[in-house]
């Protein structure tokens, strides 16, 4: 029931936040905060009571529940939480809380509807991370899109209509391809077992012959790779990110991208082990191209948010690499990269958003020497940039190191090229720091002194400081003692490997 409560809190909290706007324009954010705190409490409770039920399939599930839903197609409201889901849930609600903080002062226009969309996006994401019925999964997969679209389209920046539309069309069309693939799978269950099924565990028994299995697997892969995003399907992301409001970027980078990676680990490989094995070299090549190409693109950007967006694509390449290496190092590395990247990219987007809020520009060429005026903010930017480039001691290093370690055992050439991405990452990360925060101070509006009517931008507010502090602690924790997270996910990963590992390289 706890999962249903979690989703309900977010849905109802969103509706309440919208309704409460009629009373006072500051109430929605408080309502949203309360809802987020409650969901965080629920997730923490789950984390503390972290003992898998040995009777569940694979012995890895903490929670496994099933209610009937649409009897005609044997569709069930089936949800389950294992270590992998739980970590993703923790990331989701944590970043949800951060996003609420990021929006706290920024969103002054129609706040009720904003927090409604924020919480409904999160509800959809929680659903995605827990659904074990593929229909339910797809249902939530699509549910999270509309509120995200509205967040970009209403509260976005100058080119929001284009960005929102691009985001929606990319994810929706790839989603429809995913739906066709799911239906193929369900139909073959019908052919082989006499009834439809969307049950994750039952669908694993469906036998598809070679070429067809590859096609259906590709349907899944396209659906997830667009969300991840992987190399040729990534072009919606820089637009969506640069136009979204800060809280929207936090959700997109921190949480929504992870649903794609989660889908690959949970569905795309285990449901089609043979096809995935055949496809692994291609996927790893795509990952390497993504890592290098997007790192190169990142270096060419002048818009700070677009730059961070391209680094996101680049880092997600390590996740793809780790997943298709399909050994314990690769999977755990992918997981750690997902978690750490969720925190660093969210923090960097918040910083970019903070700069835009203060200087009304995202153009790096017009900022310089901000360290003099914004020491706290600059220090935070340095910390998260260093985290992002994979400094040992912080979470990203663990993730990328493990991904590369796993991939090396499978595909040395790809790994060697992928490792170059780490070097590029340090180049562009430090380059941003140098351009924006070092050097002589001048405002984006020319002159070394701010115009008289322009208020001197303030350094970090308390709300921001708390947000950045929490994320920094998280990253240090992941870097210094990753065992907490690795241990939680281990039962799932070993189960996945034991069940589907023998056919993969």
């Amino acid at each position: 029931m706890i999962v249903i409560w979690l989703i309900l809190i977010l849905f109802v909290g969103g509706a309440l936040a919208w309704a409460s706007e009629a009373l006072d324009s500051r109430l929605p954010r408080v309502t949203a905060l309360i809802a987020m705190v409650f969901s965080l409490i629920l997730v923490v409770m789950l984390c503390l009571d972290n003992s898998p039920d040995p009777l569940s399939p694979g012995g890895q599930w903490l929670i496994l529940e099933k209610w009937s839903w649409i009897a005609r197609f044997d569709i069930f409201m089936q949800v389950g939480v294992d270590g992998l889901s739980l970590l993703m849930l923790a990331l989701t609600v944590f970043l949800g809380l951060i996003a609420t903080g990021a929006a706290w002062h920024e969103i002054t226009e129609r706040p009720g509807f904003f927090y409604f969309n924020l919480l409904w996006t999160l509800a959809g994401v929680v659903g995605v991370f827990t659904a074990l019925d593929l229909f339910l999964f797809f249902f939530f997969w699509e549910v999270m899109l509309i509120p995200m679209y509205l967040i970009i389209a209403i509260w976005g920046h100058e080119n929001r209509a284009y960005a929102a539309m691009k985001f929606f069309v990319f994810t929706q069309v790839s989603g429809l391809i995913l739906l066709v693939a799911i239906l193929c799978l369900a139909y073959f269950h019908f052919v082989q077992f006499g009834r439809f099924s969307f049950d994750y565990f039952e669908l694993q028994n469906v036998v598809l012959e070679g070429r067809f299995q590859m096609l259906v697997m590709l349907g899944f892969f396209i659906g997830f790779a667009t969300k991840l995003p992987a190399f040729p399907l990534h072009s919606w992301l820089p637009d969506a990110h640069s136009q979204a409001p800060t809280a929207g970027s936090v959700l997109l980078a921190g949480v929504l991208l992870k649903t794609g990676a989660y889908g690959l680990i949970r569905f795309a490989v285990p449901l089609f082990p043979e096809a995935a094995a055949d496809f692994a070299p291609v996927a790893m090549t795509i990952a390497v191209i993504g890592i290098l190409y997007c790192a190169k693109l990142a270096f060419a950007q002048t818009d700070i948010k677009r730059l961070i967006a391209y680094t996101s694509v680049s880092h997600m390449g390590f996740v793809l690499l780790g997943v298709y290496a399909w050994n314990i190092y690769g999977l755990q590395g992918a997981l750690m990269t997902m978690l750490a990247h969720g925190l660093t990219s969210s923090a960097l987007f918040m910083l970019a958003g903070g700069l835009q809020h203060r200087y009304h520009t995202r153009d790096m060429g017009r900022m310089s020497g901000l360290w003099a005026k914004l020491p706290l903010m600059s220090a935070m930017a340095l910390f998260f940039s260093i985290a992002s480039l994979g400094m040992p001691g912080l979470g990203n290093f663990i993730g990328e190191f493990l991904s590369l370690l796993g991939a090396f055992q499978v595909n040395q050439v790809a790994t060697i090229f992928a490792a170059l991405g780490l070097i590029f990452a340090s180049v562009y990360s430090l380059w941003v720091i140098q351009r924006v925060f070092h050097g002589p101070y001048h405002t984006p509006h020319g002159g070394s002194e701010p115009a008289r009517d322009l208020q001197e931008p303030a350094d970090l507010s308390r709300v921001e400081l708390v947000c950045y502090g929490a994320m920094a602690i998280g990253l240090v924790w992941m870097g210094m003692y990753p065992q907490t997270f690795l241990a939680m996910a281990e039962p799932t990963m070993t189960f996945l490997l034991e069940s589907f590992g023998e056919v993969l390289p």
């Binding site: 839903w69 649409i70 539309m165």
Partner: protein
């Protein structure tokens, strides 16, 4: 005809009596409100009479009419849609500088035609129903004729519809005549027998393919499938909104139900040539409808093109009807019925919102009229958004389940081409549906007051609320309707 059979025809009898009584009342004293109430209560009574009908053994009433579960379901759907259109018409027509009463007469008679169509298993009744519906629609489309400002469009639309509808009827008649010449029967059931015999000792199968194609062409005209769609945007745009809504819901349901019954019993789908033609028509409709809708700024035209695309989706399922009776547990019939239900809800909702903010003097049918609606009238904007998202097939709405059904049927019957077209078409569809949503959330910098919801709008808003609830409930827990439809299509 026995008493039982009389009772089975109760809805038809009530709907026939409704315009007669209304007309008599008009002869005594003209009153817009009385005419509306009489028509609405007649339709409601007919709807309630279905509760009596189901208690009697369902059977064929004379060789002309068939009353079965499918017929009852379609009758209910048509009556509900007609009832909603009747109630939406009242505030819309209030300021018409002309007599309003005849519009309700036309609605009632057109509904009668639609009801005859969905219960026909015989070409005579099918044709009578189609013509009754069409003739009334000519009148409804041209209704605000005496208003000088709008006189041009309704007349043009009506004439266009008249000519093309007559041509399509001609196609159907010719096809029927060819079939009759060879088989000597006009009953759908006998056609398949006749066809097999005719192939054995007649002019060969090509003859029947041509005859069936002529009939299907006529049907495709009425369903406005590409390449027989050219009348649709002009008629939708020129007609007053209630007539457009009626045409888009009742007209489409009746035609699709008739086509479904024809395809399922006549055996024409056994011919691969016809399947190929239908596939091509379906793919063209999906792509053409969606692409052309992209260019529209008038919402009526936009929705007309989107209806072309939706009928294309429907055709994917319609093509599999035949295997529904031969194969085991195939989904085609259910998918068609479900999609029609969904389509009626979404279209009525979308047109309903437009009707609420429009009146006969000033129709708000341009996309610019809806700019900033989210902040001017959130309630209407939420409904409109929900309807548009449902048309686009987004979850939490009934449109998603409908699309899911069609996808399932497509996968089951391995129609990869139409499925690919549908994926592409849905992607294109997002552009124009979301464009409207985006306009609604873009603030308006000048003041364009919407008509204030007065007391007479309470009913319209009530219907919109019911439609919204139906949209969401059927989108989240569609299980009940699915089980119902499963039993409904078994009777085919």
């Amino acid at each position: 005809m026995t008493f039982d059979q009389m009772m089975l025809l109760l809805p038809l009898i009530i709907v026939t009596a409704t315009p007669v009584i209304t007309m008599l009342m008009v002869a005594v004293k003209r009153s817009h409100a009385v005419s509306c109430i009489l028509t609405a209560s007649g339709l409601l009574l007919a709807l309630l009479s279905l509760l009596i009908v189901v208690r009697y053994p369902l059977q064929e009433v004379t060789p002309l009419l068939q009353v079965d579960n499918f017929n009852i379901f379609c009758t209910a759907l048509i009556l509900l849609a007609a009832l909603a259109v009747t109630l939406f018409s009242y505030p819309y027509l209030c300021n018409l500088e002309d007599h309003q009463d005849e519009f309700y007469l036309l609605i009632a008679i057109a509904t009668l035609g639609a009801l005859v169509m969905v219960s026909s298993t015989h070409f005579i009744t099918a044709f009578l129903g189609m013509e009754t519906l069409s003739v009334c629609l000519y009148g409804m489309i041209a209704y605000p004729l005496h208003r000088e400002a709008t006189a041009q469009y309704p007349m043009e639309a009506s004439i266009k519809y008249l000519v093309l509808s007559a041509v399509s009827s001609g196609f159907v008649l010719f096809g029927v005549a060819l079939l009759y010449a060879q088989t000597g029967t006009l009953h759908f059931n006998d056609i398949s027998v006749g066809i097999t015999q005719g192939i054995a000792d007649g002019p060969g199968s090509e003859y029947f393919v041509v005859a069936s194609l002529l009939i299907i062409t006529g049907f495709a005209f009425k369903l406005s499938l590409v390449p027989f769609h050219l009348w649709t945007p002009d008629v939708y745009e020129g007609a007053p909104l209630p007539a457009t809504a009626f045409l888009a819901t009742v007209g489409k349901v009746a035609m699709a139900a008739l086509m479904m019954r024809f395809l399922s019993v006549s055996g024409v789908l056994d011919s691969p040539a016809i399947i190929n033609v239908l596939t091509v028509i379906g793919v063209l409709s999906i792509l053409g409808g969606n692409l052309l809708a992209l260019l529209q700024a008038n919402l009526k035209r936009l929705l007309s093109y989107s209806s072309i695309a939706h009928m294309g989706y429907l055709l994917i399922a319609l093509m599999t009807i035949d295997s529904a009776i031969t194969g085991d547990g195939s989904l085609g019939g259910e998918a068609v019925s479900f999609y029609l239900t969904a389509y009626v809800i979404m279209s009525l909702g979308a047109f309903g919102v437009m009707m609420v903010v429009s009146d006969s003097a000033h129709e708000r049918d341009h996309i610019g009229h809806y700019q900033g609606l989210f902040w001017r009238d959130p309630w209407l904007a939420v409904i409109f958004t929900a309807m548009l998202l449902s048309l686009a097939g987004i979850p939490l709405t009934v449109g998603f389940i409908g699309k899911f059904y069609i996808f399932s049927v497509g996968v089951e019957t391995a129609q990869w081409g139409p499925l690919a077209a549908m994926v592409i078409g849905s992607g294109i569809g997002l552009f124009y549906y979301l464009r409207i949503v985006y306009r609604m959330i873009t603030p308006l910098d000048y003041d364009d007051p919407l008509p204030v919801a007065g007391i007479r709008d309470v009913i319209s808003h009530g219907i919109l609320l019911v439609l919204l609830v139906a949209l969401v409930v059927l989108g989240v827990v569609p299980g009940g309707l699915m089980l119902l439809l499963e039993s409904v299509v078994q009777s085919l």
